[in-house]
């Protein structure tokens, strides 16, 4: 396993992050979820977020991915040295305050995300959905499709389904297409939101292998794994999210 030297700065540094949802439709009720969330993820390391349902684990992934707004604190993403373009190694970008273009650049060059559910695009076939992230990064279409095909085979999606839009697939098949889409690129940080939910044992093992392979190549992984077996197999350590829950009544 390519464990980096201790002196290398973490790829992801989360410090003092607060998150509160304000629900204007319910009379402006405020729901505090996190206070002072702090942790780091280094290259080649897999960190699991622990805690019960509703503790804010998915919200953390979404804040890191720029999908949720951050109320306070910082989320600094550093692209490892050797990067190019907007993602050169160095100071990194604070995703808590970054403008949309910086977030988009970070998504393109530094971090990938496998959500809980595949967001289907009408009329686009599974193979193309999986190949798309590569094409968007300038990989020739033929090569991208080839890599996508390898992943889909590995995840046991029958070839006759490849040209069909996944909207009509079963839940497990959709999730595997989603995993394939997230794993097809090689980005320094991978965010996984229950990648093995709704998968059978065989496919769960394949996904576990894929995660381990990513780590071996130096990818940092931050994930939510409800399945204890998977978590034990892939994670170096667990960050307990409940430790950062605000005190009861401290919300307002």
């Amino acid at each position: 396993m390519a464990v980096p030297t201790d002196t290398a700065p973490p790829i992801l540094t989360v410090s003092g992050v607060d998150k509160t949802f304000t629900m204007h439709l319910q009379g402006g009720q405020r729901l505090a979820v996190l206070r002072g969330l702090t942790f780091e993820v280094r290259a080649g390391e897999c960190v699991a977020l622990g805690g019960s349902s509703g503790a804010g684990k998915s919200s953390i992934l979404k804040m890191v991915y720029g999908n949720y707004a951050v109320d306070g604190g910082s989320i600094v993403l550093r692209h490892p040295a050797g990067g190019t373009g907007t993602a050169r190694g160095g100071d990194g970008v604070d995703l808590a305050t970054a403008d949309p273009r910086q977030v988009l650049a970070a998504r393109r060059d530094t971090m990938g995300y496998v959500s809980q559910f595949l967001r289907c695009v009408p009329r686009v076939g599974a193979l193309q959905i999986v190949a798309e992230p590569l094409v968007e990064r300038g990989i020739p279409a033929a090569a991208a499709r080839e890599r996508a095909a390898q992943l889909l085979s590995r995840l046991a999606i029958p070839q006759r389904l490849w040209s069909l839009p996944p909207a009509t697939f079963s839940g497990g098949e959709q999730q595997r297409v989603n995993v394939a889409r997230g794993f097809v690129t090689d980005l320094p940080l991978l965010l996984l939101d229950e990648p093995t939910a709704s998968l059978d044992a065989r496919n769960r093992d394949v996904v576990t292998e894929l995660i381990l392979a990513k780590r071996a190549r130096g990818t940092a992984v931050l994930g939510i794994f409800h399945d204890a077996a998977v978590r034990d197999a892939v994670a170096d350590r667990v960050v307990g999210v409940e430790g950062f829950a605000p005190a009861i009544g401290a919300a307002a």
Binding site: H24, L25, A69, R123
Partner: protein, 593 residues
């Protein structure tokens, strides 16, 4: 020489003649430009040559010799009547001989005998606007002339070739005068077009009903339009005139009996008579054996009348200088990639005392898709119209980085420059395809028009590019010659997209492009837009009330309410973690499919 009692010499009063002469001077100064004039009543119906009669009345003088022809003939009712009219009211000498005349008034022909320096030919014009065929709005055609934006004329020629295999326009064939103004030469046969080019005579055109006068001064270039691979071809006749034996002249077919017999004879009776006389010197060919002829264009001649005099022809300055085209270099800023394509600060548009939108700031970068969402009346369409320069900018600034990497302030560059942006760098996809397409022009012509407007002059290339784009938007190749009126709603919208993208724009405005289509058609269109935008690296501003559309194709979203931006950011951030109360309401109102 006196006119009829009670009438001024030349029939028109002196003030009217002065007014017409002023219009003529302007027309001569700006060759091919249509000068409006206060067309008067003359003693014949509108459409029977009133424009020509007024011009002739304004230029004819006591020393002039007038010839009048009607489709080449000196002896039709109209020709005879107008001749006798001027003989009576102007005391003018008249003739049927082209070489003796100083002023020739004509309906739809140029004589076969070459015109000479010092002669003036006055054309009767039924329809002065060559672009009217495709553009019904006078304000728009004037603007097109002002900007020398003549792609439209080529659309007509394109349609001819697509339909008939060649340019089928045989009369009133459009010409470009002195390299600047597009002009209708009146319904003369295209056979006569070459005679206009650098003619030593002064050519004046009068449209009485349409109240326009225009002119071609002597020795002016008159170019008949065409494509490189389908150049202008004047009509040709294989036969010789059955009466005089002339070849290479314009012939009319004359029916000689009621069992289908016919013969071809010169349409120019003066030429025919003299050619026949020269051939058989001793012969006594009766002069007016040639019957009048029927021909396509409008107008039926007839006149009867009274009397007076006039003055010699107007001055003839050379061709006027042409205003230099090109974008004015306004506010040029240094080059660089790290600047947005469009930078908007504090933009607002006011309708009377209400603001449609106000205080809008945004930057749009190349390759970025920005969605503007909000309910009806939120100001999103007003914002789009303001950004697209369709509505005035009441306050604020909009700066745009051109393809030449100059940053221009859109409020300052002027209409001509903005139009150039529309032709080469911008596109606009309307909600209703009928607003963005020419519904009665073929699909190929619709897609080809922007190319022809930017100078493409090769029919084969225009057609190939159009065919390729139809393929890209999934319209079957065999529909290329069908007009969008025969297309389904989804096909029309795809055609509109092809028409917009064919010139590889850098910035495309889209106004609710998918609403009004049924769901499956919507999905197909969205997928198409999504892939084309990614493939071509377009910057897009799309107005939609459909948050699903925004999520599917946009990078960033702007939420508007009551003319203000209430929230903006990454599309998935705005939709998944909306901050503003109004956005939360919008998001919570989405139907779950």
């Amino acid at each position: 020489m006196t006119g009829l009692d009670g009438y001024n010499l030349g029939y028109l009063d002196e003030q009217t003649k002065k007014m017409i002469r002023r219009a003529l001077l302007k027309a001569v100064a700006v060759p091919g430009f249509q000068v409006p004039f206060a067309s008067r009543e003359v003693p014949m119906p509108r459409g029977w040559g009133t424009g020509g009669v007024q011009v002739t009345a304004a230029v004819i003088g006591p020393d002039d010799v007038l010839k009048v022809i009607d489709q080449g003939a000196d002896d039709t009712t109209n020709a005879v009547s107008i001749r006798s009219f001027f003989a009576a009211v102007a005391g003018a000498r008249t003739t049927t001989r082209t070489d003796e005349a100083t002023v020739i008034q004509t309906r739809h022909r140029i004589p076969e005998t070459p015109l000479a320096e010092g002669q003036t030919i006055v054309y009767q014009v039924p329809g002065p606007e060559p672009l009217r065929f495709l553009e019904p709005r006078e304000t728009e055609t004037r603007r097109l002339h002002g900007l020398a934006d003549y792609g439209l004329m080529y659309v007509k020629l394109y349609e001819d070739i697509a339909r008939y295999g060649h340019i089928a326009t045989t009369y009133d064939y459009p010409v470009l005068v002195a390299g600047r103004y597009l002009m209708a030469p009146s319904p003369i046969p295209s056979f006569d077009n070459p005679k206009m080019h650098r003619s030593p005579a002064l050519q004046l055109f009068g449209a009485g009903r349409e109240k326009r006068i225009y002119a071609v001064p002597p020795y002016t270039d008159v170019e008949s339009l065409g494509f490189e691979d389908h150049p202008f071809e004047p009509q040709r006749f294989a036969e010789a005139c059955a009466l005089c034996g002339s070849v290479g002249v314009y012939l009319d077919e004359v029916i000689t009996d009621d069992v289908g017999g016919s013969m071809f004879v010169c349409s120019d009776t003066d030429h025919c008579e003299r050619a026949a006389a020269a051939e058989a010197p001793a012969a006594t060919v009766p002069a007016a054996t040639i019957p009048p002829v029927e021909v396509p264009p409008v107008e039926v001649p007839a006149v009867e009348v009274p009397a007076v005099e006039v003055r010699p022809a107007a001055a003839r300055p050379p061709a006027a200088p042409i205003p230099a085209p090109g974008t004015p270099p306004v506010g040029v800023v240094a080059a660089g990639v790290a600047r947005p394509l469009l930078a908007v600060r504090g933009a607002g548009h006011r309708y009377g005392d209400r603001w449609g939108c106000r205080g809008v700031d945004l930057d749009l970068w190349p390759g970025e898709v920005l969605a503007v969402v909000g309910e009806s009346g939120s100001g999103k369409s007003t914002l789009l119209g303001t950004l697209a320069q369709r509505l005035s900018l009441t306050e604020g600034r909009i700066r745009y980085r051109t393809a030449g990497d100059a940053t221009v302030d859109l409020a300052e560059i002027g209409e001509r420059a903005v139009r150039q942006l529309w032709r080469g760098e911008w596109g606009f996809v309307h909600q209703d395809p009928a607003d963005g397409l020419r519904m009665h022009v073929s699909a190929g012509g619709n897609v080809g028009e922007p190319l022809m407007a930017t100078g493409w002059r090769h029919y084969g290339e225009v057609r190939a590019a159009a065919a390729q784009w139809l393929r890209r938007v999934e319209i079957p190749a065999e529909r290329i010659d069908d007009a969008p009126v025969t297309f389904s709603g989804g096909m029309r919208q795809r055609l509109q997209i092809a028409r917009n993208l064919v010139v590889s724009p850098r910035l495309v405005f889209m106004h609710e492009p998918t609403s009004g289509l049924d769901v499956s058609v919507q999905a197909r269109l969205l997928d198409l837009i999504r892939s084309l935008v990614a493939e071509l690296g377009l910057a897009v501003i799309i107005v939609t009330h459909d948050l699903a559309v925004a999520r599917l194709i946009s990078h960033r979203t702007l939420v508007m309410k009551d003319g203000r931006v209430v929230e903006s950011g990454l599309t998935d951030r705005v939709l998944d973690d909306p901050q503003a109360a109004y956005t939360q309401l919008l998001v919570s109102s989405i139907l779950q499919g």
